[in-house]
């Protein structure tokens, strides 16, 4: 199946997000970013702290207002001012999983309320019995016991809390889930549980994920395609193994070289590349977002493009 035939669920076109800073000029957190997410895939968005990856996720769920560009969900624009009905649909179909399970659950509410919070908002249940049944089902789906509903979040461990967060999103029956660093604040032995859970849910429910992370090794494991973002701009995008096998942009290459490998003989010998942004000369020739080989995009100017094409052979 070629990519043109695949259904696009999210399309981001020339997105720009700005924050008012202290100075007169607003700070551009996301600048001219464009990409598509296909139905049923996991799209990994990788970048360092402050790269704008979280901002993109929050722009999609309408928490961060956009300054320019468009976000389309199944072909309909969902950024800026939209009809109330579409807003309700977006709320329901697009859900988010947060980074820190210690901070993302309301400590003063019982698990029962936390999980069914979304249902109250969309009046997604017939009666109290129906609601409780839905909560139980959502808890079971994430590997928790229905009896946990009557407890408070502080009684649970990080991994369990993160799964409560997943149940809260699942109960809305979303099609698209933004997972913003869902495992980076979890303990090593718990991460696999959550990663497996996300994969299972994708298989059984046909979910699409935007998986935001700073950790390339995790993204490599879970994502079908990866976009690398640096200082608010997407610098490279390709299918996972293509990106790992043939990275073009020097930033991608630096990032790949820095991944710690749990194998002492390899890790001790590895050579770390340092990315120096001054290696680009964009003074005359501005960079463009170019599809260098099918499905492999890179941000480059004409001269760099020639170099990359030479590398691609």
């Amino acid at each position: 199946m070629t990519q043109n035939e695949r259904e696009v669920i999210i399309e981001i076109k020339n997105l720009r997000v700005e924050f008012k800073g202290k100075g007169r000029k607003p700070f551009r957190a996301v600048d001219d970013v464009s990409f598509e997410i296909y139905k049923g895939e996991t799209f990994g968005l990788v970048g360092e702290t402050g790269s704008g990856k979280t901002t993109i996720g929050r722009a999609i769920v309408r928490i961060n207002p956009t300054a320019a560009g468009e976000i389309l969900f199944k072909g309909r624009r969902i950024n800026g001012v939209i009809p109330k009905e579409l807003d309700r649909e977006v709320t329901r179909k697009i859900q988010m999983i947060f980074q820190d399970p210690m901070a993302s659950l309301n400590e003063r509410s019982k698990v029962d309320y936390i999980v069914s919070e979304g249902l109250y908002n969309i009046k997604g249940f017939k009666d109290e019995q129906d609601r409780m049944a839905k909560v139980s089902r959502a808890l079971l789906e994430v590997g928790l016991l229905p009896e946990f509903a009557s407890r408070f979040p502080h009684e649970f461990s990080g991994g369990q809390r993160q799964r409560i967060g997943v149940a809260r999103a699942l109960i809305m029956e979303p099609e698209f889930i933004i997972a913003d660093e869902p495992i980076s604040s979890l303990d090593v032995s718990i991460r696999a549980q959550v990663l497996n859970l996300l994969s299972d849910l994708q298989k059984t429910k046909g979910l699409t994920y935007l998986f935001i992370s700073h950790d390339l090794s995790v993204v490599r494991f879970i994502a079908d395609r990866i976009g690398v973002i640096h200082k608010g701009r997407l610098v490279e995008l390709a299918e996972t193994e293509e990106l790992f096998g043939r990275p073009f942009h020097p930033y991608t290459r630096a990032l790949l070289s820095a991944i710690p490998i749990p194998d002492p003989q390899i890790e001790k010998k590895k050579k770390v590349l340092v990315y120096d942004p001054t290696c680009h000369d964009y003074s005359k020739d501005k960079p463009k977002w170019v599809e260098i080989t099918p499905g492999h995009f890179v941000l480059a100017n004409e001269e760099e493009l020639r170099q990359y094409e030479a590398m691609a052979g």
Binding site: E107, E117, Y120, H154, E155
Partner: protein, 322 residues
């Protein structure tokens, strides 16, 4: 070697122990991490504070007593001027005695009855103003803190209102309206909520961008429910403390305003009026009891609520929960 250890060693000998145990993945999930409960721990720490318990009991009995005092037998009217039946003169400045437990004042009213009546008035004002502060102040503060669009406007409005000294505002109100119980309550309600609103606003700004609130926004939770379910429950402890501190504060204002002559009319006994009367005879050592009795009651109330408020704040602070 203990018997238990011997048993264990024997058990090791037992080959059966070197077989696989049954694995129950549900059991691994069931680990209740802690039985910590926020309110349970708060109560436990509060109960450990013996001073606070004593003061709480004292305040409870004080409020109860001022309420039922007029209905007890042998109580005199706080406003009646007692007259010596033999001479027909008022019984002025009588020392405390069996008949007049706290003595009488300069015009011959029973000080015991006046003190409880005054405490009742002052506490009532404090409680009404306190409830208003909680209701209105929290409402304004919560909206102000959570709805970003109005923050700049509200902050400016706050700065303007807050820059008018409360004293002048209260004096102005007391001039415009006639001095009465109602005037007092209105005057103090008009100013008291401001501090509460600002306080709640600051607290809400601190917690409003935490991830769990973002999560609620993603789920489409309306603002009103985010405020009541996500924000205010986190503030209950600090709000209770503010209320506890607002009661002595309001009484203090009442005393001050009455003292400078702008508070309650003199025919309504209040702690402020009583202190003012007592102050006028303060220079005569024999009459000093007229100042001492109301001053003691006022001090006990003020200090108790202050200590209670702080004890509760300490107990409800999760950092002290161990």
């Amino acid at each position: 070697m203990s018997q238990k250890e011997q048993q264990v060693i024997q058990a090791i000998e037992d080959e059966a122990l070197f077989t696989f145990a049954e694995y129950d993945p549900e059991a691994a999930e069931r680990v209740g991490y802690s039985d910590y409960s926020y309110w349970g721990s708060t109560l436990k720490i509060f109960l450990k504070n013996k001073t606070a318990i004593f003061l709480l009991a004292l305040m409870a009995s004080l409020i109860l007593f001022t309420t039922i005092q007029p209905y007890l037998p042998n109580q005199k009217s706080p406003t009646k001027i007692h007259v010596d039946p033999a001479t027909g003169h008022p019984l002025r400045n009588q020392k405390p005695s069996n008949e007049y437990w706290f003595g009488t004042n300069v015009i011959g009213q029973d000080l015991w009855a006046r003190i409880w009546s005054g405490t009742r008035t002052s506490l009532l004002i404090a409680i009404i103003v306190g409830i208003w502060e909680v209701g209105f102040g929290i409402f304004i503060g919560a909206v102000w803190g959570y709805v970003r669009q109005i923050d700049a406007f509200m902050t400016e409005a706050y700065n303007v209102i807050n820059n008018v000294p409360t004293t002048i505002l209260l004096m102005l109100l007391a001039y415009i309206l006639r001095p009465s119980f109602r005037t007092m309550v209105i005057a103090m309600c008009a100013t008291g909520w401001l501090g509460m609103a600002r306080f709640v606003r600051n607290q809400i700004v601190i917690i409003r961008d935490r991830e769990y609130n973002l999560a609620s926004r993603c789920l489409g939770t309306p603002t009103s429910r985010i405020i009541t379910k996500n924000l205010l429950p986190y503030l209950v402890s600090v709000i209770v403390m503010r209320i506890a501190l607002s009661i002595p504060g309001t009484i203090g204002w009442e005393v001050f305003l009455t003292y400078i002559g702008l508070g309650l009319p003199i025919d309504t006994p209040s702690l402020g009026n009583l202190l003012n009367e007592g102050r006028q005879v303060m220079m005569a050592p024999a009459l000093r009891y007229q100042l001492v009795f109301p001053a003691v009651v006022l001090s006990v109330i003020t200090i108790s609520f202050y200590v209670l408020g702080n004890a509760f704040a300490d107990a409800s602070d999760p950092r002290n929960h161990y």
